[in-house]
Amino acid sequence: MNIYERRRIKNTLASGLALACVVLALIPLVYILAEVVIKGAPALSWEFLTSRTVGTGEPGEGIGNAIVGTLLLVFYAGLIGLPVGILTGIYVSEYGNNRFGTTVRFFNDVLANFPSIVVGLLAYALVVAYLDVGFSLIAGAFALAIIMIPIVANTTEEALRMVPNSLREGALALGVPRWRTVLKVMLTNARSGIVTGSLLSIARIAGETAPLLLTAFYSSYWSFSPTEPVASLPLTIFRNYNSPSDVLLEQAWGASLVLILIVLSLNIGVRILMRPRKRKHKAVKRRWMTRLSRKT
């Protein structure tokens, strides 16, 4: 076997190995999805989705309160996190070309990769312990908002930077004040990017468990008050995963299925929804180009 042969074989082996890595990484993903669907689907029923978790393992229990709890947590977190995140993104993109802007950007990147359990402890220290609200919906939402802010800020910044400068200059040349330029022209044009970031951040916080464990805790009742502990899908899974009762274990799998459906549909939906826009844009551009070329 000469050296060329050996190099060719080495090359083929290495390519195969790289492909094998991809396949190996996809096995857990497929396996998890299959397992969750197979074990979770039998649990689903109208009753299961609409009744509360009693926790005794009697038939007739459900995850209704956990679904409502997760929706409430995401809603309140969005109420705090989205405006703050978007405004932070605006600052960094529009006014952040200085040392202070760089600092904000730096800490946003750091915060975006922070362990969420530490964020949970931070929220605990303020809302649960210092403000003495106790374990509550609002404490959980606060923790989720802190997780959300850097994600929304980073995507907003990115989206604003994609807006062509000519639009900004055009607006300013017409005498529009800067703040109106940002709010009307820039935000309108960056809309789809900002929506994408917001939806992805919601997908991210919907599955967060550790911060909720430390702040919103858990409730087996229907609870809507911001100052009371609240149930959530991830916490339902965590409470039941080790249960000797088959009913409760099935509850965990059912909750997993609902949760994963929410998270994946947000992720995949965003990807599908945001794609045609680009194509449409290109199609419009192409139509114009053909029209122009016909004229000349």
Binding site: P177, W179, A210, S256
Partner: protein, 322 residues
């Protein structure tokens, strides 16, 4: 304006002197500062909450090897140790796999597969941590107890790392789960670093007659190594802070044990597993543990950001549901 050099507009910079502009500029600035200021304020509050533990144990907290709620003695060493071991396993398994994935996605994959495959790998990061834990309990654990661990203890049982019987809920299982969870982060950021390698590098290697493999090794991996290293550090940060999946699979033993087949506990999983019943000094000690974790995460992430700042956008925003 420096803005001009960066290819942005001259008009982006200092506000024009309208009243509305000043108000707008300063209000967004205040909001942008808010989060940062708040985080540091909250850290101070955590220190206050942890003060009784800090007063009682002082620096000995970090080196104390006993965690015993019955005697009210708390030390962090077993959990620092557990975190190091599980993170180590995760990196040993996860990094080569991730680099393989990144190489495939940036160098080998046909263009029409690149986008979809990257997306699917990133989806791995979208699965919530608690579902990883549930899956590990009922799908991964039987495999590990049945085949992987007996095999490891047969051939490596003489080393302290693989001594003892396999139970399935142990540091090894937690490490495997962590490896799966850090793959999307390391793979995405490494891929981004490799795609940033100028084509001239590849062309130079190819023109010298190098094969694809040799090109990748000489031109791409060498050029992108700092990016790959930074990606690894980001993965390390993720593994250190990962909570729920570890808490569900590591077996909750608050002792130091070298064997990967023994149950253990990490810093994060300790907080999650003991939060429900902790009170007074124990609660304070858990918060102090959180502070240690905060410092570790801060150092790791600041370092990673300095290494791979340019590629930070590649981190799957759907996080690990840590």
């Amino acid at each position: 304006m420096r803005g001009n050099e960066k290819g942005t507009s001259v008009l982006r910079g200092k506000p024009l002197s309208f009243g509305g502009d000043l108000v707008f500029r300063y209000s967004v600035m205040v909001v942008a500062t808010l989060t940062l200021a708040l985080v540091w304020l909250l850290v101070i509050m955590m220190v206050i909450d942890a003060s009784s533990s800090i007063d009682t144990f002082g620096l000995g907290f970090v080196t104390g090897d006993v965690w015993d709620p019955n005697r009210d003695v708390y030390g962090a060493l077993p959990f620092i140790f557990g975190t190091l071991l599980t993170t180590g396993i995760a990196l040993i398994i996860g990094v080569p796999l991730s680099i393989g994935i990144a190489v495939y996605l940036s160098e080998l994959a046909p263009p029409y597969l690149r986008g979809p495959l990257s997306f699917v790998v990133e989806l791995l990061a979208a699965v919530p941590s608690v579902i990883y834990g549930l899956w590990a309990m009922y799908a991964l654990r039987p495999v590990i107890v049945g085949t992987v661990e007996p095999f490891l203890s047969d051939i490596l049982g003489w080393t302290p790392l693989f001594a003892g019987d396999s139970v399935g809920l142990d540091k090894f299982t937690a490490g495997i789960i962590l490896a799966i969870m850090i793959i999307p982060t390391i793979a995405s950021v490494s891929k981004e670093a490799m795609m940033a390698v100028p084509d001239s590098q590849r062309e130079a290697a190819l023109s010298l007659g190098a094969t694809r493999y040799e090109t990748t090794r000489m031109a791409v991996l060498t050029y992108a190594r700092s990016g790959i290293f930074g990606a690894t550090i980001l993965g390390l940060g993720r593994a250190v802070g990962e909570t729920m999946a570890v808490a569900m699979t590591i077996g909750n033993a608050n002792v130091i044990s070298w064997s990967l087949l023994d149950p253990g506990q990490t810093m994060a999983s300790l907080i999650a597993n003991n939060w429900g019943e902790a009170q007074d000094l124990q609660l304070s000690a858990l918060i102090e543990m959180g502070l240690v974790l905060f410092v570790v995460a801060l150092v790791v992430n600041v370092f990673a950001r300095l290494m791979v700042g340019r590629f930070m956008k590649a981190v799957p925003s759907t996080g690990g549901g840590l």
